[in-house]
Structures are given as C-alpha cells and as structure tokens.
C-alpha cells in the first residue's frame, strides 16, 4: 500500500523520539533544536500529532511521572514507528540526493 508523505512536524516528532523517550515539552525543545530553531511546535499542534501517532501505534507511552504536581507523560517510538521513520528518512534522503545530483550536473551550484 502506498504511504502518504509524512508531514514535517510528524517527521520531526518521531525523530525527537528516535533515541529515547521524551515528554511533551521535551519534544518541543528537541524539535526546535533538530530543525536549527526553525520549527517551534505549538502545544495544540504537538498534541494533535501525538494523539494521531498513538492511534496509529507509531508511538506509545513509556512512563509517567509527577513533577511539581503535574503529570508528565513520556512517549517513545514503537517498532512500527521506528520502521515508518526509517522509511520516511530514506525517502527524503533519496529525494535530496537526486536534487543535489541534478544541480551538480546542471552547473555545480550545489557544492
């Protein structure tokens, strides 16, 4: 079955979780760092994405903690989530290298 391309926010959230579990605010700061400060997720966007990713079983709840009287839930990738992220990363990489190769052939603007 053909898979739709992943939205950038989703891709970055999965990437943030790729090397370990994180809680909501941790994901936001990590995504900002991964994207070089360009993408700052807002909480509404983040939780809409997390809700969808959990339903799709691409992420799961790792553990819960209570910090300052507030619930903190840590999310992590499921095996399906890792696979999906790897597929998407490979796809993006193939596109990017195709673009760079052609630019190179066209006159070497991409060095």
């Amino acid at each position: 079955m053909a898979m739709r391309a992943m939205q950038e926010a989703t891709f970055l959230i999965l990437t943030a979780l790729a090397d370990g579990s994180q809680h909501g605010y941790g994901i936001i700061t990590d995504v900002q760092q991964i994207s070089g400060g360009r993408v700052r997720l807002r909480p509404g966007t983040l939780y809409t994405a997390l809700d969808r990713l959990r339903a799709d079983e691409l992420i799961g709840v790792d553990r819960e903690e209570v910090v300052d009287g507030r619930l903190r839930r840590y999310y992590r990738l499921t095996p399906a989530g890792s696979g999906r992220l790897a597929d998407e990363a490979a796809r993006l990489q193939a596109h990017a290298s195709a673009a760079l190769t052609r630019l190179d052939l066209a006159g070497g603007t991409a060095t």
Binding site: M1, G24, R42, P43, G44, L71, T78
Partner: protein, 298 residues
C-alpha cells in the same frame, strides 16, 4: 489570584475545545506543556497560542483518531448505519404505496383478488409499519451499543443474523403469491441489501479475530495493551449488533411478513436464487476481509 493561576485557568477553558476523551487522558499533561511554553509574567494566552489550541481541539473533534485495533469495529458500525439506511428506505417505500395498495398493484400488473385485498386491512398495515420501524431501531441501537463496546450483543447479533439468513428465502418467492408491499417493486433488492450489511459486519468480526493475535507481538506492551484492552470487547459486539440488526431487518421486512402467511412449502420455490445470492454474499464478505487485513498489514 496570581498571574500564574489566571493563565492556567484561561488555558483550562481553552482545553474545553478538545474531546472529553482527550481532556480526560491528556488534559493535565497538555496544560503543563502550555504553561511551560508560556513566557514568564503572562496572565492570558497569546493570540497565536490560543488559536493553535483551539485549532487542535476542532481538528480532533472533526477527525477523531481511531485506534488501529478499533478500526474494524468502526467499519462494522458503518455497516450497521448502512443497514439502518436501507431499512429506512424500506419504510419510506412502504409508506408511499400504502395509501392505495390496490392501485399500486394494478400499476405493477397484478390484480388482487378480494381475499388478497382484504388482507391489507389496518392491522396488516400497522404490522407492516411497526415491523419496518423495529429493524431501524435495532440497527441504530446495535451501532450505538457496539460503538460503546457492549459485549452482550455479540451472541444475540450472530443468532439474529442467522435468522435473517434463513428468512432471506422469503424474498425470492414469486411475487404473485406474496402478500407483501414493497418487494414487488424492488424484488428482493432491499432485503438482500439489508442482509449484506449484516454480512459485512459479521465478516469484519471474523477478520478482527484473525488479525488481532498477529498484531500483538512486536508492538509495545503498554500502549497496545491499553488500546486492545479497550477495543477488543468493543469490536466484537459491534459486529454482533450489526448481525442482529441485519437479521431483524430482514425478518421484519414485508417479504418476511408475507412469508409467514404463506404455507411453508412455498419457501422452496426460490432456493436456486437464494443459493446464488448467498454465494455472492460470501464472496463479498471474503473480499471485505481481505481488504481489511491488507490495510492492517500495510
């Protein structure tokens, strides 16, 4: 009240845009993130922040995310609503022709004998209407119960679907001998459609049983257990309910009423057609099963 508390109250109010399920499960957590994201000294949410929170809530309400394990149930519930729709069409047609049943039969080229005409008395018509209302109610009830994950409906639905299957034979008898209202116009179309809706739901139930065990291993224990724990009992009744609805709908169809009036021997008439339809239905169910399984594996 401190600025912090004011801000928190404002955010709590914004969270009302989200579905109750989400608020219950993620409300506290999201509130913490909202507070952490807010710049210090704020007393009310920024416009962009508030718009984003509201947009997220609307999105979740408009396009609720269905857990993977509950998707077959969702599909089964859709079949039930389809069954209810077909039953409603049945009722509407019945109401349309009931006013002048004799003229209606004349249009179709049948002349009712006095004895046949006398069967369309008030009692028969009332029974006809009620028996069209009952399946509509049942379909909706079943869809609702299944959506909420009630387990009791399972056996009942399956049994009723069985009854509906048996009863379907009534829809294939030669019209001349039948004292039915609607099927003369559409032939066995409506009963068969209703039955197919039930069959689709039952097919989904069987797919679910085949698919779930293989979905278990590999998936993360915590979230899968959470999802399937809630959704497995949710799925089974959904199909059950469909089946019950389908069965009762077919049972209560005008064809069925007429059928009960006729001697049993008349039932054997359409057996050839019945077996063709049942065969077709089995094929449809298998196809649906394949599609569903294919989706899950994909």
């Amino acid at each position: 009240m401190t600025d912090q508390a004011k801000l928190e109250r404002a955010y709590r109010r914004l969270l009302a845009w989200y579905p109750r399920r989400f608020r219950h499960e993620n409300g506290q957590e999201m509130l913490a993130v909202l507070m952490a994201c807010a710049a210090g000294g704020r007393r009310r949410p920024g416009l962009a922040q508030a718009a984003d929170v509201i947009r997220g809530g609307l999105w979740m309400r408009l396009f609720p995310s269905v857990p993977r394990s509950a998707r077959t149930v969702r599909a089964a519930v859709r079949f039930m609503y389809a069954g209810a729709a077909v039953s409603t069409v049945n009722l509407i047609v019945l109401l349309a022709v009931i006013a002048d049943i004799k003229a209606y039969h004349a249009v179709l080229g049948y002349r009712l004998t006095a004895a046949q005409a006398s069967q369309f008395n008030t009692l028969a018509i009332t029974v006809g209407i009620v028996s069209d209302l009952v399946p509509i109610g049942l379909w909706l009830w079943m869809a609702g119960a299944n959506g909420r994950g009630r387990n009791w409906a399972r056996g009942l639905s399956t049994a009723l679907f069985g009854v509906a299957t048996l009863d379907l034979t009534g829809a294939f008898e030669t019209p001349v001998f039948r004292v039915s209202f609607v099927p003369m116009l559409f032939g066995p179309t409506l009963p068969v459609l209703t039955w197919l809706a039930g069959a689709g739901a039952v097919g989904l139930l069987w797919c679910l049983h085949r698919v779930l065990p293989s979905a278990g291993p590999g998936a993360d224990a915590a979230s899968t257990a959470e999802a399937t724990g809630a959704d497995l009992p949710r799925a089974a009744p959904a199909v059950t309910v469909t089946a019950i609805g389908g069965a009762l709908a077919a049972l209560a169809s005008p064809a069925a009423i007429a059928n009960s009036v006729q001697p049993l021997a008349a039932r054997t008439h359409g057996s050839g057609g019945v077996s063709v339809i049942i065969l077709a239905a089995v094929v449809v169910v298998l196809l649906i099963g394949r599609v569903v399984i294919g989706r899950r594996r994909g």
